[in-house]
């Protein structure tokens, strides 16, 4: 057969797509959940029932100041997150090496809100970009993003002739392979702008990790050994002075930040910096107003000028979508789900095309069990994570680590089940029980929520209805897919 560009691209698309696709499904699925990370955290902390848009009082700011000073005296480096439309509490946080932890204060009274320890929605966010492997994980995610862009480019070349005419073509009644191919092409083409935007901006956000920007001149300069400060030059750590009242500083900062709301405050021994909120616009900046301590005199504004800086800010803004209204956030969520479906359907197609020729090979069986444990195992473990949050005792020590353990444990069990059930000829043996489990866990989410957090359901109906409703919808869709998988197809 004469090799043409399309057949070569077909090979590249298939193999690059499959190898990276397994990882990409995890990245996309957790990224999609991260769109509502704050809301998931609120669902996972039903004790926090502060309604949105609760006005912030001076009393609460004073209470936060006292708490921050207390922590600083104890040598803990804390920062203050101000209330926003999505998270109405005043949070005094610090980094414990894995996540940001601290005290949530009521924005009306300044009283601490006793909430359960949980990884919350930030778990999905950190999984999305680190794969729980720190900087190495972020590098892997970035490289996967680049390969995924290559796979998308080759896919466009393969399908270029029918790209526009077949844009809404879906033949579910045709042969099974044809149906899957149509479904793959449908979501791929319709959600192509979103997919390219989200992968490109995602790669760019952490591009420095795989392509460090070293000025050429520095390549020819010998690295100097780090200089250690002479003994006695470092100021002795003393007791930090009490903070000035924060309310007037926030008003000044808002004026200096051209009317943008303040998002968080960082503290250093001699100054405090009020940063613009990420929700204030599509340009995700780190503009801040600095105030001298202890008197609170305005030192000035720090902004990042320049065209390249602005482009990077908009790239960050597009990827993180922190400026997005709830409606736009849902559009991100739906687009993320469809992008995940695109990759998932691609994985299934890859296996279906090779089943008759290579179904008996051990490599095929490994690939199949990996696909099943990714496509159904990950939703099972994400739902198990939510169930675990509500089932564990609230006062249990190390419960946030138990949540991660539950997530990973469920995933390992699914992977084990998939590898046991997978044989070259009987793919549905592994799919169907795992789909049933997703339906059970997703459909049971509203019941679990009503039984274990009924007061929160009444006080924050929108958040709970959205998360419980999504669980229910997932259950319905999964049951429909399971019904369509009747018999041992293929």
């Amino acid at each position: 057969m004469r090799e043409t560009l399309r057949t070569r691209m077909g090979w590249l698309h298939g193999w690059a797509g499959f190898v990276v696709g397994l990882l990409a499904v995890c990245i996309f699925m957790t990224g999609t959940l991260s769109v509502f990370d704050t809301e998931i955290t609120r669902w996972m902390q039903p004790e926090n029932q502060v309604p949105a848009y609760t006005p912030l009082t001076d009393t609460a700011l004073d209470a936060a100041s006292s708490l921050i000073h207390e922590q600083q005296v104890r040598g803990v480096s804390v920062f203050l997150t101000l209330p926003s439309a999505r998270s109405p509490t005043l949070d005094v946080l610090h980094y414990d090496g894995r996540q940001f932890v601290g005290t949530l204060l009521d924005p009306r009274t300044g009283m601490p809100i006793p909430v359960r320890a949980t990884m919350g929605g930030t778990f999905f966010f950190s999984f999305h970009y680190t794969l729980l492997e720190g900087t190495t994980g972020t590098r892997i995610v970035n490289i996967a993003g680049v390969i995924l862009l290559v796979a998308i480019g080759s896919g466009i070349v393969i399908h270029i002739r029918a790209l526009v005419p077949d844009i809404v073509r879906l033949r579910l009644s045709a042969a099974r392979l044809r149906g899957w191919l149509d479904a793959h092409l449908l979501v791929s083409v319709l959600f192509l702008p979103f997919t390219i935007m989200i992968i490109y901006t995602g790669v760019l956000v952490n591009a420095g990790l795989i392509l460090p920007a070293i000025p050429l001149a520095n390549l020819f300069v010998h690295e100097k050994p780090p200089t250690t400060p002479a003994s006695g030059t470092k100021a002795a750590p003393g007791v930090p002075p009490p903070l000035p009242p924060l309310a007037p500083l926030l008003a000044t900062a808002r004026h200096s930040l051209q009317g943008r709301d303040a998002g968080f405050i960082l503290f250093s021994p001699d100054r405090l910096s009020v940063y613009a909120s990420d929700a204030s616009g599509p340009f995700l900046t780190r503009d801040h107003a600095d105030f001298r301590l202890p008197d609170g005199r305005l030192l000035g504004m720090t902004t990042t000028p320049g065209r390249i800086a602005h482009i990077m800010q908009v790239m960050h803004g597009l990827h993180y979508a922190r400026f997005a209204t709830p409606g736009l956030r849902w559009l991100y969520f739906v687009s993320g789900l469809c992008a995940t479906a695109m990759i998932g359907s691609g994985l299934v197609l890859f296996l279906m095309k090779r089943r008759s020729r290579s179904g008996h090979r051990i490599g095929f069986r490994v690939a199949e069990s990996l696909t099943i444990s990714t496509l159904t195992g990950l939703p099972v473990s994400a739902l198990a994570f939510l169930w675990c949050n509500r089932m564990l005792p609230t006062s249990m020590a190390g419960r946030n680590r138990m949540e991660i353990g539950c997530f990973l444990g469920a995933w390992i069990l699914c992977a084990g089940h998939a590898s046991l059930c997978t044989s070259g000829r009987r793919m549905n043996m592994a799919w169907r029980p795992q789909l049933r489990l997703i339906a059970l866990l997703g459909g049971g989410l509203p019941v679990l929520d009503a039984l274990t957090g009924s007061r929160a359901v009444y006080s924050l109906p929108a958040i709970h209805a959205a998360i419980d409703g999504t669980g229910l919808l997932v259950a319905i869709i999964v049951l429909y897919i399971r019904r369509r998988l009747k018999g041992d197809g293929e």
Partner: protein
């Protein structure tokens, strides 16, 4: 209200597109006048949707325009598939 409007305009665009490819999607061929109308609809409706979406601001508008394209396309495809099924 802008999203429903852009969504409806994209539904109209895809409907015109489907009627311009009758054999592909299993429809009867349109008369020349109908084809001309469908062509105008396919070009004008997304342009109007873009103008509407741009009223929400540059970045948000473009995101809204593309999202409504994707979701409207998906709805039309599902409707066509169920019709054929």
């Amino acid at each position: 209200m802008i999203f429903p409007a852009t969504f409806l305009l994209w539904l109209m665009t895809f409907s015109c597109h489907v009627r311009l490819h009758p054999h592909r999607y299993g429809f009867a061929t349109l008369a020349p006048h109908g084809q001309c109308m469908a062509l105008v609809g396919r070009i004008a409706a997304p342009a109007v949707a873009l103008v509407l979406a741009a009223r929400m601001g540059g970045v948000t508008g473009v995101l809204m325009w593309f999202s409504s394209l994707s979701i409207a396309g998906l709805c039309i495809a599902l409707w066509l598939a169920s019709r054929r099924h």
